[in-house]
Symmetry: C2
Amino acid sequence: MREILVLYEQFKRKAQILGDLKSDETLSIIIKIFELCTAFLDRLERTALKSKVADKDYFSFVKASKISRAINESLYMLGIENVPKFFSCIRNNKYGDISSEQITAACYVIAINFCAAIDIEKDRNQKTPGTFFEYLIGHLYARRIQMNPTTKLSVLNLDMEGTLPTDFVFDLGKNEMKFHVPVKLSTRERVIQVWAHQKLLDGIYGTGRFLGMFTCLAETKTDKNKREVVEICLPFQWRLYQMFIAQLTRIYYLDMPKIYERLNDEFPKIRVAKFGDFFLEYDTLKG
Amino acid sequence: MREILVLYEQFKRKAQILGDLKSDETLSIIIKIFELCTAFLDRLERTALKSKVADKDYFSFVKASKISRAINESLYMLGIENVPKFFSCIRNNKYGDISSEQITAACYVIAINFCAAIDIEKDRNQKTPGTFFEYLIGHLYARRIQMNPTTKLSVLNLDMEGTLPTDFVFDLGKNEMKFHVPVKLSTRERVIQVWAHQKLLDGIYGTGRFLGMFTCLAETKTDKNKREVVEICLPFQWRLYQMFIAQLTRIYYLDMPKIYERLNDEFPKIRVAKFGDFFLEYDTLKG
């Protein structure tokens, strides 16, 4: 476990010097973290959770009195099979032989393995999994777009001048697309921030200039005493946000809630998709 | 301490049945909590903190290895003197003989006493102080406006129908003002939510229909190891939010950061004021 945390610190340093987020060295650190987490978790017991989520089964890793967050069983199994193939796709930036489902499941395993290891070894530490996930997703976008992101933008508006801190922003250059990529482990009521940041970019730089690509792990909540897992979704609020605050272009999930998937068919038709879709539709998105 | 927590549970129940938030019984519970917290804290040592905030001194209550959050010294002293007078104003809903400074300081003491007691007795419990503060401020608005708030609004929009959960909303009736009152202990980067909720209300119900009255305790952050206190302010972002997301009518503080006070004089002139002002300017605001 100590080794995982040392590598995590290296990963953080790489990511914070944003020029390095995309690099092969960063990918190698992620692969090593994945291998160590897998080895660590393989020695643990698993316990099935009572799933209150329709058509999905969840389990947790267990060590003495400690229990990890909920893990989607079928997604995990599919992911474990496909992680090596996915890492090879990422290394070569070629996605011809892999499906969206395989990518999504592989990313899920890489993310959830680290989160589960921290859940078991650290007390109520939410920050470390959140930071790891943010940088992991940042790295994957950076590999696909073949560009490092920025996390600040200049504001020049008559007599106002300053710097706006942002989520990951990938600016493909003059007259090209710009991607705005907020990342969260889960959303609940805090998700309105994502629409508000999009509104701010639309207002300052012009509507349509940044495509909002919100990326999220899951919406599960685990009751560790009851060993029960629920999914918390607010689809009605999302529709209001999309209608009255700003328009997000995509919302990508690793463990997609069915309730949000249905928003593809309701007004205002929010495009909620599996994260794997991004790798396959990127060329279309960048236009 | 046990008695304080029992009263806190009673207060929460009163507040959650919103029809009771304004009531005299709720006020009596708040007064009792205040008295018990004061008695509890009076037996403790105080330690001066190294203040990195210009022109403000802070201290913490200390018990063995436990240390409370930072408390503004001069505000606390002014508040302690004025709490009885303030409770009597609240009881009679008459504010002719009390100044904005006295109201602000008294509210500060009532709020911070409870927070400090919880800091000392409970481990890293942020939820209890936050909930107490929200309901305390809700009660004070309800007394001044002489009306209980709601925390949900109906949405009827062609084929869309549903309920939007909100912060406190006081609706004075047809053709009268409506107040939208978000409440937080401190803001940091999460404050964009407040502007986003205002934007949502403007969008759904029409701009200008709800006056946004954001109410906040302080922006201090205490480093308990270094015994040092700083104030975290993001005035440039606030100006962008006010220009590009929505317009808040007032931002009230109990321990007002100087940096935000200056926003009264800069474009777009955000009206940041002491919370006590609300009690004196309410008749003007409701028009």
